[in-house]
Amino acid sequence: MNARVAVLCAALASALPLCALAQGFAGMARDAEGYGLPQRGQRLAFPIDHGAHPDFRIEWWYLTANLEAPDGTPYGIQWTLFRNALAPGNPGTGWSSSQAWMGHAALTDETAHRGAMRIARGGIGQAGVTTAPFAAWIDEWRMQGIAPPGEDPLSALSLTAQGADFGYDLQLAAEGPLVLHGEEGFSVKAESGQASYYYSQPFYRVTGRLDLPDGAVAVTGQAWLDREWSSQPLAEDQNGWDWFSLHFEDGSKLMAFQLRGEGTAFRSGTWIAADGSATPLSDDALALRPLSETQVAGRRIPTRWRLALPAHGVDITITALRGDAWMDTMVPYWEGPVRVNGTHAGTGYLEMTGYE
């Protein structure tokens, strides 16, 4: 999920200083000295690795869900908690904690896209992540583990967030295993070797309630949680990306992305079978082509795509539910639910950055 890394990186290029504040300031694609670096062959251990890794510079708990009202109206929600170490070494306690936290939440339907943001520092309890019991929170936004003892803490979650004009309260239950990307969770991000630890839980069944200006709506659907942490995950010449997480009706799933740089785009992804078995995709396995664009926030953004993955018989068209799913946070980016048609039908989420 390079895209999410890049969202954070965008902060560095941004002139908005608070954004930089929330992001860490040494520069993400720059020097990682003093921070931990992902090691090839290091096995992930759960539930420890569900928690925070303060010795790495950046980390997130990133959840998207495609939902539906009883009348079939589609919705999408996003719940993200970013962690950033502002300085390497001992994170410190109290106000002098070097851990900065940022939350993004959004609710998209066919009529509107609504977003909100929170930032906080660690050390005083305003934001953080614990493993036993599992909880990730910033202010009143919470991702709370509700799994019975003995099971993976991420296998059942309650999730809430709200903004000035929306809110949601959802229950999530995993119907499949955790999926490790790359080599057992060691995910390479660039030809020059940048990498991150990256795993997902793409098999959530969701039930719950959305709060909209017109009233509450009961919804059901699917959700996808990404967990990733690193210290220097991007190459310097990478400036934009398009990232897809798709649920197909046959139960299979696809994570795919392209990093647009100076030369040809670096493409990668994971094919996830309905049983949870994952196949990393090589750079040349994917074909991606924008079909049409939408004018959003003063820039043109491709909101309709053609994606082909011949090795798995996939040739699909991906269409945004709303073209204006613009996250007007300190780091602006596009993130919204999509519909999938073609050889495979389904739903999913699309994230795009770097369109100026």
């Binding site: 200083p17 608070l18 930089a20 504040l21 929330a22 300031f25 502002l86 300085a87 410190g92 109290g94 106000w95 002098s96 070097s98 900065a100 909100a116 930032i119 906080a120 520092r121 005083i124 309890g125 305003q126 929170w137 202010d139 009143e140 709200q162 903004g163 000035a164 004009d165 929306f166 809110g167 709060d211």
Partner: protein, 804 residues
């Protein structure tokens, strides 16, 4: 044609450069004092606005501890955030060490309202320094410059646009600087709140909302001070206008033959008036610009003292550096133009009414006229009536200033008449021919000098009035300090636990340990501090009560009453026996009122046990120590060694008094400076008037010379004449000044500060001022007199020879 006329008219100034200089300098001085004062006011107002706007406090509501406690727990902040309340923590406090003091504002850049933060704080290259110990403190450039090298503060960085006198640091850094770990002053409620959140009472029952306006009261508090300055500026401006009026009047009179010639040559009267008005505007613009430059210098020189005054009196911080704000320099230019218009108006009007063939010779342009004196006298009487009415019925500071203005103008208008009477009396008593002539001639000079003398009267009265007020205040204040600070040493523990240990340790070693415990809260709509006093003889023996019964202190000790400071008593219009609701709902009867000079806040004193019962979590860290004064240094050393108390936690009586008096002296430094400037302007007015008269007086002096007086003797008489007039003016100024002092002490002070002061008389000062006035008059007359003494006989003979 107009151009030709203008150049002919302007040629006059080439021939009379001194007159031109007088006119320009007079107007420039008037403008300078006015715009200087306005520049100071504008800077101060800008500082208040910035201070009020710190972190958007002028717009945002905040949450404060409900029971008047100084702090709230930072866990409450986290609880509120986790319940959905979008609030941002603030910790404010005064940091001081070794006599240096600065306001610390601790904030959380993560949650603080972004638009209200100075951009510098968010500088991404320094944010990590800002957050991590030792932190980084941002202040206005001058604040940073003043604090450079002070030990104990975080590294400093200058940020433009910040309110002066305070430092922004991260809240964590502020907690350790202010020794307030885990505590906050209040929480700002951010404008954007989420969709739903629980009631405040459910999360933080100990907090209450406070409206944004309450924190921005500097402007209100200091309004009277600025009105004061403005009044001074206006006074100076008026004094300066006297100069301009006489210079313009003279220039018009001297050019009357030319006006006649120009008109005879066919220049329409309207054009002549337009050209002359244009000339006045031109001169006013030049003088105005010079005046604004001078005003800037004056303001820049005075501003640091004004800033110190405002800090000392009101706790308001004002930038010590000056910026060129259009509101004052445009205003200054406008005043210069308006002043020139006022000064020239009469002359232009006369010109307008002048018949073409009127005699061209300069008549005495301000001739003695009993009718004019009578008219002025009637106006003076009317204004005196206004002053009396304002004294009887006037309300507040505005009434006080109406009283002052009416009093001063009335006295100024009455002055020529009074002087004429005095001189007539002198003439009647005179024996010799020369003496008779001297008195009679002095009286004849009166109209030409009356404006300058009125200016002198204003300056002298202001001097006596303000001087008496300041000296009375100082006398009262020092006495009061002696009474009010009976304890030999004051200590502040770093926390409650240390305070407890300190108490135990000190008990056997000293005469008495008197707690200085306080909470803050709101009484009758205003912020107050509530203290508790121990039942100890120190208080009945020393504490100066303005109102109270013999048993006031016993009543306090029994927890059955309260006493308040004079400010609160006046502001809330309380009477003994009134019951007053305290924060938290308790009610106490008022049993006494005490003087509390120099404190902008209302204050309440309860019995100590009463205080702790009502407010159990009162801050208990401060104590006053009664002991043998000789033992104080030893005690301080012991406290440092035993408890590691830093030296700034202890302050002895002498030092407190020293600081208080220093604040006091600085407070009135500006007043003194303005006084001197006003005197200087008045002296200059006198000088220009005498200079003007000296050329016009030759026809009056030449016959006396011809009849047998030497020029030197005449010059000496001229000098004595000026000093006589100054002396007589002083005689009038003393009673006027004393009335002024009374108004300042009993009316303005009460309205502006909330306290009334007893008036003391300082005749030695008047003597000194009298000498000063005589010296000023002597100096002003010296040059014209010297010129007369050295005048060539042929110049005097022209009087006889000239066909006039």
């Amino acid at each position: 044609m107009r151009r030709v006329a203008l150049s002919a008219l302007l040629a006059h100034w080439r021939r009379h450069p001194l007159q031109l200089a007088t006119l320009l300098l007079g107007l420039a001085l008037a403008t300078a004092l006015w715009s200087g004062v306005q520049a100071i006011n504008a800077e101060a107002r800008a500082s208040y606005a910035r201070a009020a706007g710190v972190l958007g406090q002028d717009r945002l509501e905040s949450l404060v501890p409900a029971r008047g406690l100084p702090h709230l727990d930072q866990d409450i902040f986290v609880s509120l955030r986790r319940a959905g309340w979008q609030v941002s923590p603030l910790l404010e406090g005064q940091w001081s060490r070794a006599g240096i003091s600065v306001q610390i504002v601790g904030l959380d850049p993560f949650t603080a309202p972004r638009s209200a933060l100075p951009g510098m704080i968010l500088d991404e290259t320094r944010i990590t320094d800002f957050l991590a110990p030792p932190g980084l403190a941002y202040g206005a450039p001058e604040t940073v410059a003043a604090l450079t090298g002070v030990v104990g503060l975080p590294p400093l960085a200058a940020a433009e646009g910040m309110a002066p006198g305070l430092l922004f640091t991260d809240i964590g850094i502020a907690q350790s600087l202010l020794r307030a770990e885990g505590r906050l002053s209040r929480l700002l409620i951010l404008p954007d709140q989420p969709r739903s959140r629980p009631e405040l009472a459910a999360i933080a029952p100990g907090l209450e909302r406070r409206a944004p306006i309450e924190q921005a009261d500097s402007a209100q508090l200091t309004g009277s001070f600025h009105l004061n300055l403005t009044a001074f500026g206006l006074l100076s401006f008026a004094v300066g206008l006297f100069i301009v009026h006489s210079a313009i009047g003279l220039a018009f009179e001297q050019r009357r033959p030319m006006f006649r010639t120009l008109r005879a040559l066919g220049l329409p009267l309207r054009d002549l008036v337009v050209v002359l008005a244009g000339e006045v505007v031109l001169l006013a613009l030049v003088a105005g610009l010079v005046g604004i430059a001078l005003g800037y210098l004056i303001a820049a020189a005075l501003l640091p003292d004004v800033a110190a005054t405002l800090r000392g009196l009101y706790g308001a911080t004002v930038s010590g550096s000056l910026s060129l704000r259009p509101e004052w320099w445009l205003g200054g230019l406008g005043m210069a133009l308006a002043g020139a218009a006022i000064a020239a108006g009469q002359s232009l009007w006369r010109l307008w009414r002048l018949p073409l063939l009127a005699p061209a010779q300069p008549t005495a342009w301000a001739r003695a006229s009993t009718r004019a004196l009578a008219r002025q006298g009637i106006a003076a009487g009317g204004l005196a009536l206004v002053a009396v009415l304002a004294a009887v019925h006037g309300q507040g500071i505005a009434g006080g200033f109406i009283l002052l203005g009416a009093l001063l103008i009335s006295a100024a208008l009455a002055l020529p008449g009074i002087l004429a009477l005095m001189l007539a009396g002198g003439a009647r008593l005179a024996r010799g021919a020369l003496a008779q002539w001297f008195w009679a001639d002095t009286r004849q000079q009166l109209p030409g000098l009356s404006l300058a003398l009125m200016a002198l009267l204003l300056a002298l009265s202001a001097n006596i009035g303000v001087g008496t007020m300041v000296a009375s205040f100082r006398l009262t204040f020092t006495d009061w300090l002696d009474q009010r600070l009976p304890s030999e040493l004051y200590v502040t523990a770093r926390d409650q636990e240390e305070a407890r240990r300190l108490r135990d340790w000190l008990a056997p070693r000293i005469d008495a340990l008197l707690p200085i415990w306080k909470v803050e809260g709101t009484i009758l709509g205003g912020p107050v501090e509530i203290y508790g006093v121990a039942d100890h003889r120190t208080y009945p023996d020393n504490w100066p009560l303005i109102l109270g019964e013999a048993d006031t202190w016993q009543v306090l000790a029994r927890g059955q009453g309260m006493i308040v400071n004079e400010q609160l008593w006046r502001r809330a219009d309380l009477a003994l026996g009134d019951t007053v609701p305290l924060p938290g709902g308790a009610v106490r009867a008022l049993v006494g009122v005490y003087a509390d000079y120099g404190n902008p806040k209302g204050q309440v004193i309860l019995g100590l046990d009463d205080l702790t019962a009502l407010y159990p979590d009162v801050d208990r860290r401060r104590y006053a120590i009664r002991t043998d004064p000789a033992a104080v240094p030893e005690l301080k050393t012991a406290l440092t060694e035993e408890f590691g108390l830093p030296s700034d936690s202890m302050i002895d009586q002498g030092r407190v008094k020293e600081i208080s008096l220093m604040v006091f002296e600085r407070t009135f430094l500006v007043t003194g400076a303005l006084n001197v400037l006003t005197m200087a302007v008045a002296g200059f007015a006198m000088f220009t008037s005498l200079l003007t008269l000296s050329t016009m007086r030759l026809p009056q002096l030449a016959p006396v010379w011809a009849l047998g007086l030497t020029r030197r003797r005449l010059a000496r008489l001229e000098l004595i004449r000026a000093m006589l007039l100054a002396g007589l003016t002083l005689l009038v100024a003393v009673p006027v000044g004393l009335i002024l002092a009374w108004v300042l002490l009993a009316v303005i002070n009460v309205a502006a500060f909330g306290w009334k002061l007893p008036m003391h008389l300082f005749p030695a000062d008047w003597l000194w001022l009298g000498l000063l006035a005589l010296a000023a008059a002597g100096l002003a007359a010296a040059w014209p007199a010297w010129r007369l003494a050295r005048l060539a006989p042929s110049d005097l003979l022209k009087v006889f020879a000239d066909e006039r």
